[in-house]
């Protein structure tokens, strides 16, 4: 088995290959403005590093967000297109779950919160229990509005680090690493567990102003 994992729902453009036992290659570049340019070269790079070709892939895992939409879509459409062209399954995973998995892997114990930057002074966030299981649906909120819900537990992710008054105890990792997403997916596959669909978690409706009638040009 050779699983390609990728995630573009945060400033990190991150790609990894997993052979069912280990992540055999990975690449993470943090650049919030160039997801579209960086992703495919990163896929090519990890395959080359692993001595594999794209035709060797047996499945694809993609972070479905939540995350800023433009970047998020780069990963999702890339995964869907690779999956269709190669005829391999595409599995979705919540981006926040990847960060949670990496944090636990790094030694974090007890309940915690994962928070990524949602811009506009908001965070995408979810809470996890002491077994690392997500206990809330991913949501987008102003940090001050969720202060009571996240108080008393450490927080993971670059979004948390932006708001020290709400998240005073921030733990690594700051950024998503597809190797964690790949390991999480490999475990789920081995256990025969279901994946969420590889569809975007936008959490907000599209910004769209309905024009208020046409502009009158004659003086009133």
């Amino acid at each position: 088995m050779l699983l390609l994992a990728l995630d573009t729902a945060t400033p990190a453009v991150t790609v990894a290959l997993h052979d069912g036992r280990d992540a055999v290659a990975h690449s993470t570049v943090v650049d919030a403005r160039r997801h579209g340019e960086l992703l495919l070269p990163a896929v090519d790079r990890v395959l080359t590093r692993a001595g594999a070709v794209v035709g060797d892939l047996t499945g694809i895992v993609v972070g479905v967000g939540p995350g800023p939409y433009t970047g998020l879509r780069v990963g999702l459409v890339t995964a869907a297109s690779l999956g269709d062209a190669l005829g391999v399954p595409v599995h979705g995973l919540c981006t926040l779950d990847g960060l949670a998995y990496a944090a636990r892997d790094g030694g974090l114990t007890g309940p915690f919160t994962v928070a990524t930057d949602a811009r506009r002074k908001e965070v995408y966030w979810a809470r996890y229990d002491d077994a690392g299981a997500r206990v809330t649906e991913p949501a987008v909120d102003r940090p001050a509005d969720i202060a009571a819900q996240v108080a008393g537990a450490p927080a993971v992710g670059a979004g948390a680090a932006l708001y020290p008054e709400v998240f005073p105890d921030v733990r690594p990792p700051a950024h998503q690493d597809a190797a964690a997403l790949a390991a999480l997916a490999a475990g789920k596959l081995a256990r025969g567990e279901e994946f969420p669909p590889a569809l975007p978690l936008y959490l907000r409706r599209p910004d769209a102003q309905v024009p208020a009638g046409y502009k009158q040009v004659l003086p009133k």
Binding site: V54, A208, L218
Partner: protein, 358 residues
């Protein structure tokens, strides 16, 4: 001919998810998923709504195009995609998909220019593009006069709108008249029952000292709104058909007059008209008559090939393959303001043999 390049083209610069497949100058498939109805209630294209729709429609539209064309993805000689200009987030969905398909299938990727694609699509309708060709591109996003001697390498802008695109003027006038969005087809429909000479609306930038090839539709749009408001203020009925016909007459008069002037000034005997407004029946009729009078051969593709579609991107991609142009690199950006003078975005290393891939 089986040895002509078989290319799949992806277009997502605005609100249509288009996937076309061509073999040389032959159209094999033209699949389009439009989000226009989702935009109608906003009275214009909402970029985020368009981008979301592109993501949903991308893989199904590619599958449909391959099925319609009756070809296997593995048989393709290349994958072309609109790299710009257009809505940044919308373009990015198509560019990312094109890269993934090209990479997975081991095919060269061609990031091409949306405007050059609008011109090149005529090869699917009328065969090889004459060199040189004058092109009048008119849509909700563009109003340009372009001169091309080689659609893969030489597109020269002669003029463009200094304010609104022609299609925007149609949308705005339709809104003034309460005809809904998009405005082009509605105005065209009402105008059929109207008198184009009923109201003499202004012809922008047609004075002796005005730029010869540039357009302006903002003043016209305002003049129409003013005229309609005055009638309403007097409590009079607004003759919608006459307003639509007279407005449409002003737009098409300026467009065709300037296009023919450009042909004559540059000694060009072929005029092609593309873009969504090229579907307008009055523009087609007036251009036909004026070109005939001027001894110019007019080429206008069927309406479905004038609006945004993937076939036009595939057509230009096929021409890139046929002429041995360099493929694009895997870090090809979506460039919302890609200059019209760049028909495609070549990679940093020159083309190797046909079938070049990474």
């Amino acid at each position: 001919m089986a040895d002509e390049p078989l290319v799949l083209g992806i277009e997502t610069s605005c609100d249509e998810t288009g996937v076309g497949i061509v073999r040389g100058h032959t159209l094999l498939a033209d699949a389009v998923a439009s989000s226009v109805e989702e935009h109608a209630r906003f009275g214009g294209v909402v970029p985020e709504v368009a981008s979301r729709a592109h993501l949903e429609a991308m893989v199904p539209t590619i599958r449909r195009a391959l099925k319609d064309a009756g070809v296997a993805a593995s048989d393709l000689d290349g994958i072309a995609v609109t790299a710009g200009p257009g809505l940044a987030g919308a373009l990015l969905v198509g560019v990312s998909a094109a890269k993934a398909y090209a990479y997975a299938l081991g095919k060269p990727l061609y990031g091409v220019n949306h405007l050059a694609s609008h011109i090149c699509v005529d090869q699917l309708e009328h065969g090889a593009l004459p060199e040189p060709t004058m092109a009048l591109l008119v849509s909700g996003g563009h109003s340009s006069l372009l001169l091309t001697t080689d659609i893969t390498s030489d597109v020269r802008p002669l003029g463009s709108t200094i304010d609104d695109a022609a299609g925007e003027a149609f949308d705005k006038v339709a809104r003034v008249l309460g005809l809904g969005f998009p405005g082009g087809p509605a105005v065209d429909r009402y105008a059929r029952d109207g008198d184009p000479k009923a109201i003499r609306f202004p012809r922008g930038l047609t004075g002796p000292r005005d730029p010869v090839y540039d357009f302006s539709f903002s003043g016209l749009k305002t003049a129409v709104a003013r005229w309609v408001e005055e009638r309403r203020r007097e409590g009079a009925d607004v003759p919608i058909a006459d307003v639509a016909a007279s407005f449409q007459e002003a737009v098409t008069d300026v467009l065709t007059r300037k296009a023919i002037r450009a042909c004559k000034d540059h000694g060009v005997e072929h005029l092609m008209i593309g873009g969504g407004v090229a579907a307008n029946s009055r523009l087609r009729a007036m251009a036909q008559r004026r070109c005939a009078d001027a001894g110019i051969e007019l080429r206008v593709p069927r309406p479905k090939l004038c609006t945004d579609n993937g076939a036009m991107v595939a057509a230009l991609g096929a021409e890139m393959v046929a002429r041995g142009r360099s493929a694009s690199d895997w870090d090809l950006p979506a460039d919302s303001s890609l200059p019209v003078t760049e028909p495609h975005v070549p990679g940093r290393t020159p083309a190797t043999a046909p079938g070049h891939h990474h």
